[in-house]
Subunit: 186 residues, 2 copies
């Protein structure tokens, strides 16, 4: 029993995404994107970051608004907790990337979502970043994501949605595989 209900609406314009895929297959140069942020130190461990422009489809793209983010360390680190910690931003990025992917794949598969909720948790041994034990890494030992999904779909179809979202997720790839980062001082 495959449900193919054309009235399924998860708010994702799959037709536009399929058209984009076809267009970019013909013009791979337009698929080269550059994503950006700017960060300014405020005081202590507190910084203020902004996100606005990016490059893609062969040209600079400007948003109508600028997104702004404060980051800081919490009070237990003798900081002032002016914003989420940097590692929590990574968790937000990963959870939101998988969630957007679930909505897009569900639309493509004509499965109506009613609600999608995720909790995400990363384990960190602070002996790494504090330099206590050089065998302990600075980042997460591991990350667990739990989804609760209410949809007009069988459990196996919901599990397949989540699996396909992981397979196509940019942030899942960034976290699970190494990326080269160069840091320079102007």
């Amino acid at each position: 029993m495959v449900t193919t209900n054309s009235s399924v609406n998860n708010g994702v314009n799959v037709e536009a995404l399929i058209a984009a895929r076809e267009a970019l297959t013909q013009a791979p140069q337009a698929a080269q994107f550059k994503w950006r942020a700017a960060c300014e130190w405020k005081d202590g461990t507190h910084s203020h970051s902004t996100v606005e422009s990016f490059f893609g489809l062969g040209q600079e793209q400007h948003r109508k608004k600028t997104f702004a983010f404060d980051a800081d360390h919490p009070e237990v680190f003798a900081s002032e907790d002016h914003g989420a910690t940097p590692v929590e931003y990574v968790l937000v990025g990963l959870a939101s990337c998988l969630t957007a992917g679930i909505a897009a794949v569900a639309q493509h598969r004509k499965l109506q979502l009613r609600s999608v909720k995720a909790t995400i948790e990363g384990d960190m041994d602070l002996q790494g970043i504090l330099g206590i034990d050089s065998d302990v890494r600075n980042g997460f030992d591991g990350i667990r994501v739990h989804f609760s999904i209410d949809a007009d779909a069988k459990r196996e179809d919901i599990e397949a949605l989540v699996a396909q979202s992981q397979k196509r997720s940019a942030v899942f790839d960034i976290v699970t595989n190494p990326t080269n980062v160069t840091v320079k001082v102007n």
Copy 2:
């Protein structure tokens, strides 16, 4: 000529961090932290995430406030741009982590910072996430961070600050090295 000016103040309580390092060296169990976020799908690729509690120093820690974040895809992806894209959250996390580290290391080395600004850019070939070319990864091909730092310090000391921040950065480690992520459906 090493400057050891005790009036240096970058707003980082290095004494408290050193005391924490000593305490956690004696009690490594207290160094086991769990960082968290919760994410709820809104519509289309738009989601709303919150960050509040974490576990550390042997107990649940609750902040005085909840940090909230919208994530979405931009209009060129036929989305509504209700928030930064998930991959931009990763860039914010990386830039803010390195920036906090620079302030902490500068305080420890008694170097007065006047300003620290970073720009960060990640290259992405959308042929990956769109499934056009299976040889193209979903995430960033590479990330470049450029710091402009004004400080009472020689250029080589500033470069050493940035290098030490990278060495101790949780998010730098997360992005440059693989992390295990498990995704489950409740």
